[in-house]
Each structure stands twice: as C-alpha cells, then as structure tokens.
Amino acid sequence: MSDASETSPATDGNGNGNNVPAPRGSAGGPEVIGVRKGMFGARNGGDTSGYGGLVRTVAMPGESHRPYGSYFDEVVDELEGALEEQDLLPENAIEKVVVDRGELTLHIAREHLVRVAKTLRDDPALRFELCTGVSGVHFPEDRSRELHAVYHLRSITHGRVVRLEVTAPDADPHVPSLVSVYPTNDWHEREAYDFFGLVFDGHPALTRIMMPDDWQGFPQRKDYPLGGIPIEYKGAQIPAPDQRRSYS
C-alpha cells in the first residue's frame, strides 16, 4: 500500500503528486498523525473547563536526511545496495528513513517487507539475526494507514538495532508474515493479530493467542473501550463489571 502511505504531508510536500514516492532527501517535516481537541480528553458532555477550544496536532518525527549519523548511514547504504542487487529499487521498498532519539526507523512498503527482512538477516554486512517480535500500534486518525506493525531487529554480530515500520489501512489489514524469515515471530504475530486485527499473510496458524478463540473484536485498538465489555467464553455470558448484581 505504498500509494495510500503517500498521503501523509511528510512526503507529498514536494509537488510530486500522491502516487509517486518522494525522492530521498526531500524536505519532510514532522508527520501529522492526528489532531486532539480540548484539554482533558473529555469527548462526551460539555467541557466546562474553558479549554474546549484547544487544538493540538499530533506529529511524529518526520523524514531524516543524510548523513544519519552513527552506524545508520552504513546500514541504509548496505541495505540499498543489497536490494539493488536483487533488482528491487530501494525507493520502492524503503518509503522513508527516520532517525530520532538515536534510533533508526525504516518505513517499509508492506509488499516488500519479507524481502527486506531476509536481506537484513542474511547480508553479511547487516546480519540482523534476532527479531524481537512485532508490536502493533493503532492510529485511527492516520487515514488509510491506521494500523502500524513495528519490528525491532537486533544484530548480535555488529551490535546494532534497527526498527522496521509497516503500515496497513484498516479496510485491508494485511501484512506479510515474517515467520518464514524469523520463526520467533510466530507467537508475536498471533499476539498482534489478537489485539489489533492485523492479518499476517503466510503465517502458519494465525489464531488468537491471549483472548478466547471466540472473542469478538480486537481489544488493543483505540476504539475498543477499556472496560464494560460483557465477557463471553465458549457460549457463557458474564455481564460487564458495572452491570453485575450488587448487594449493597
């Protein structure tokens, strides 16, 4: 879904149109992923605090420019070179490079995720042998890239860490599975599926892992409430805590 991902202000600010990936090194500001209104988070009922008119945009760190510093330039160079050798244009696979707080994040187009991960694992100059699993993040206001899957890869050989970030729209929550490259991601992907509804294509047995098999909904999405869900387990119904019998 590289098309959808290009709607962010960070990458379409150079007049290239929305369907063409922005060239590397273009001016990219912080990436706005949402807007918050009011001050105290109250969404229902009147805000009598006087701060109801406050508007705050939520902006994640935007694209970085070379030199990235530390070992990051080397990692990106090596990855780009290795991808070119495989006849894959790096610009198509790597949507964006973000260096923030001393960490390197590579935003990867989801259709190329497996290839990139395999390259990162196998290339002798990269050798990210260890994947520490996937963390789902839900940005309901980040239009058509609502679901993010974030992977942290660690290279024991070189002592490095790199973060891969992949996005998928809510309407098509598919991300290729990395189990074939990193078998350790088996349970991690099941967990991300269980809590965020991210469907990892190619996973050997994508089932719920924490919640009961017949659970409805994906609990760690932002639109899923914290409590008040009637508990269902194998047909048995237990009312939400605030609706149970009380003896007071």
């Binding site: 918050r36 260890l130 699993g133 660690r154 973060r163 350790t184 088996d186 892992i209 009961p212 760690q220």
Partner: protein
C-alpha cells in the same frame, strides 16, 4: 466389600469418558495412571493427547501443555497460554506515564525491577533525559536489578529442583530469596510489585540501614551460594535428570529468538549488559558465563554462575554509592518532594506541605498538575531493552505528545522463550517435559501480560 466393588468398578472405568467428534475424551482427576493407560489402550487409536495444566504445580502458573504421547514418548507438544492475560498494555494507555510503573512491575512478577527499569529507560529516551539521570539513581537501579536477578534465578533453581523431587534445593532457594525480599521490603516498602523505579529516577532514596543490611546479605550469600554447588552440581541423580534434556542448539535459539540463559547455554556469550550496555553496565566488572551443552544442566550452571557475578556487581554498586539526588533536576518531571515517613506513619513531606499550603500558590498548582495530570512526553517512539534474568526484555513505547502512553508493548523474554518448548520436548520423555519447561523458566505473568 463396598470398597472392593468400587475399586473393581474403577478399574473397568478409571476415568469418566465421553465421545466427541475427535474421539474418546477421558477426564482424569487422580486415580492410577496405569489404569488410565490400559483403558485408553483399549481404544483403537494409539495416540493419546494429554492436557497438562492449566492448573498443575509444575507448569509454573497457568500454563497449559498439550502433549501428544505415544507410550512415554512425546510426539508433539504445544502450549496453550493466555490464562493470565490481564490487559496491562491496554490499561497503561489510560494512566499517566508515572503510574505506568505500577502496572509494568506486575508483568513478570519475579523480575519487577527489570520491568520498571526497562519501561523507565524507554520513557526517558522519549523525554530525552537519559543523560540527566543522577548517578546515584542509576547505581541503585543496577543494584536492585542485580539483586532481582539473584532472586529470580533462585526461584528458577528452587522450583526446578522441586519438580525433580529435590525439595532440599527448593528450601534453600526460597530461604535465600527471602533474604533478598527482605532487602526489597526495606528499600521500597514492598516485597514484590514495587513501582520504585520511576521515569526520571527513583521514588525514594535508600533508607537508613539499607547499606548495612546489604553488606550482611553479601556475607550470608557468599556462604550460601556454594551450598547449591555442593548439593546439586555434582549430584549424579540431578545430572542424570538434566543432562541432554531440553536440548536446543544455537541454530534453534537464533531461529526461535531465544535469549538469556537458553542462548548462553548454546555457547553464545550474548548479554545486553555487555553488547548494548545501559545504566552504565560497561563500567562494571563481571563475566558472562556460557556452556556448550545446550541442555537444562548447562542452563542450571549458567544461572548459578550468574548469581555469583550478580553478587560481584552488587559489591561494586555499594562501593560506588555517593550521596546525591535520585531524581532528575527537571521540576517539570520530578515529583516536587522526596517523601518521608511522617509521625502518622504515612509517607509525605511536612516541609513541602507547609510550603505549598501556606506560602506558594504556584507551587501548589504545580504539584497538583504534576501529580494528577502528569508530564507530557514529546511525540515519537523508542525501544529500550535490558537483560532480564530470562533474556532480552524489550519495551516499545509510543507517545502522541500527551500525558499518557499512546502504546506500550513489552517483548517479554518468557513469552518468546516459551515458543522453544516444542523444539525442546518433542521426541523426549513425558517426565523430561517438566525439566525442559523448568529450564526455560517461564513466568506466566510475563508471558500473558
């Protein structure tokens, strides 16, 4: 006579059975294993699927092992987890950043200080204050983590021994762990679930008498640690049960993402304290033990040696303790006062209360805002990892610029390492499953979160 009849009846029908689409299901509670096996053997199907757990003393909490067995051999093994899922990651998003420590400390309840420190390192990275954490706070964090490593390994060795029937080692392990929990109680007020490490530093300084008790503890522990060696290391029964059991070589470890003692038992000296140091670990002197045996016995030896190394680090921490603050100087992050025990037995600071209630309205407002609303964390994401007793404990924290975490994900080593259970157990004996699972040292609070 009645009893005779009853037992006759039982031998013909030892366990209640019912027919399902998958075959006959026997529900076994108590009774004689031989009778169950005999009864199951009557069925045409040779295959028996045994559900071990979720309530079983040797499955370390509510872990369900689904074993397909052929005689005494395990042909397939699977884990069922999720029985202890408490939604901590979701709950964190509804509390402020400081309150988060109260939640994360409950994840892997045997390693609370690792959870807290990993979380706080992540938050501090987001805040950009990693360099401003006072030295004393960092030294105390290291001190507490290493004590915690001792207590976690002691539980692993104690319960692992108990599952083999070695109850003496269980008594020894819990005896020594109690000494550490006493120190935790003295320092933090609680034996578990401390919420003592906070973003920016620590909740409090060490109380009077803590250093003395720590020195006493070091003396006692140096006397006690060799007892484990004497009792178990060379014990032929112990070795016969543990050697070549739960085998997982380096290839398997890397593929399955196993870290911690499991990875080091395969010969790779990977320890985040050395390879990606945090909290100033690069300045401490300690060794990373490894073995080449890839088995449960090797992991036992590694845990034993790591406890010795932890004692070395604790000693170095005590030498380095210099008086100083234990919280960042930034008043927009640090809580306004160091609490002290008041005459009423409650924790507060009378000087501070006098100041905010009597003389400074602004200080009162600031205190109120900071404690109820919390501080804002600039938007972005960070990954912090520490070497917990079980392996790489990673925390992925995402902020949207608000006073609450937007998303916190824990990569708990128990969760990842437990995936290796099938690789370790399949093809082995049923009794060895217990040993293999014990050598993984899973804590379900961390696995399920």
């Amino acid at each position: 006579m009645n009893a005779q009849n009853a037992s006759n009846g039982a031998s013909s029908n030892p366990a209640a059975s019912r027919e399902t689409t998958e075959g006959t299901v026997y529900t076994v509670t108590g009774g004689d294993w031989d009778e169950i096996v005999r009864s199951a053997a009557k069925a045409d199907d040779e295959r028996i699927v045994v559900n071990m757990g979720p309530q079983h003393p040797s499955t370390h909490g509510v872990l369900r092992l689904i074993l397909e067995i052929d005689g005494e051999t395990v042909t397939e093994a699977r884990c069922g987890i999720g029985y202890l899922h408490t939604g901590i990651e979701k709950n964190l998003e509804f509390r402020n950043w400081t309150q988060g420590t109260t939640f994360v400390t409950r994840m892997d309840y045997l390693t609370p200080f690792f959870n807290e420190t990993a979380y706080c390192l992540g938050v501090e990275k987001l805040l950009g204050i990693t360099d401003q954490i006072p030295d004393r706070a960092t030294v105390i964090r290291v001190l507490l983590m290493e004590l915690n490593r001792l207590s976690s390994h002691l539980v692993c060795i104690a319960t692992g021994g108990m599952e083999l029937g070695a109850t003496t080692i269980m008594i020894y392990g819990f005896r020594d762990r109690e000494l550490i929990l006493d120190i935790f109680e003295l320092i933090t007020g609680l034996r578990m679930n401390h919420a003592f490490v906070r973003p920016g530093g620590l909740a409090q300084d060490l109380p009077p008498g803590a250093v003395d008790q720590l020195r006493d503890f070091l003396k006692t522990m140096k006397k006690n640690l060799p007892e484990y060696d004497k009792l178990a290391t060379g014990n032929p029964i112990f070795k016969a049960r543990m050697q070549d059991v739960g085998y997982l070589d380096l290839t398997g470890c890397m593929a399955l993402g196993a870290t911690g003692p499991i990875l080091r038992s395969a010969g790779l000296p990977h320890d985040l304290r050395k390879s990606d140091p945090y909290c100033g670990y690069e300045t401490y002197e300690f060794d990373v033990p490894t073995t080449e045996s890839c088995d449960s016995y090797g992991r036992f030896l590694i845990r034993l040696e790591e406890m010795r190394q932890s004692l070395r680090i604790v000693e170095q921490c005590l030498e380095r303790l210099e008086p100083g603050p234990v919280m960042v100087a930034d008043k927009k992050i640090a809580w306004p006062a160091q609490l002290a025990m008041g005459p009423d037995g409650l924790g507060n600071s009378l000087d501070h209360i006098k100041n905010i209630m009597g003389t400074s309205m602004e200080a009162l407002i600031h205190h109120f805002k900071l404690v109820t609303e919390g501080f804002r964390v600039p938007a972005g994401q960070a990954y912090a990892a520490v070497e917990s007793p079980k392996g790489e404990l990673g925390v992925h924290v995402v902020s949207d610029g608000g006073t609450r975490p937007y998303r916190v994900h824990f990569r708990d080593p128990s969760f990842t390492n437990l995936q290796a259970m099938a690789a370790m157990c399949e093809g082995g004996q049923v009794a060895d499953v217990i040993v293999a699972v014990a050598s993984i040292d899973p804590v379900m609070g961390g696995v399920d979160r």
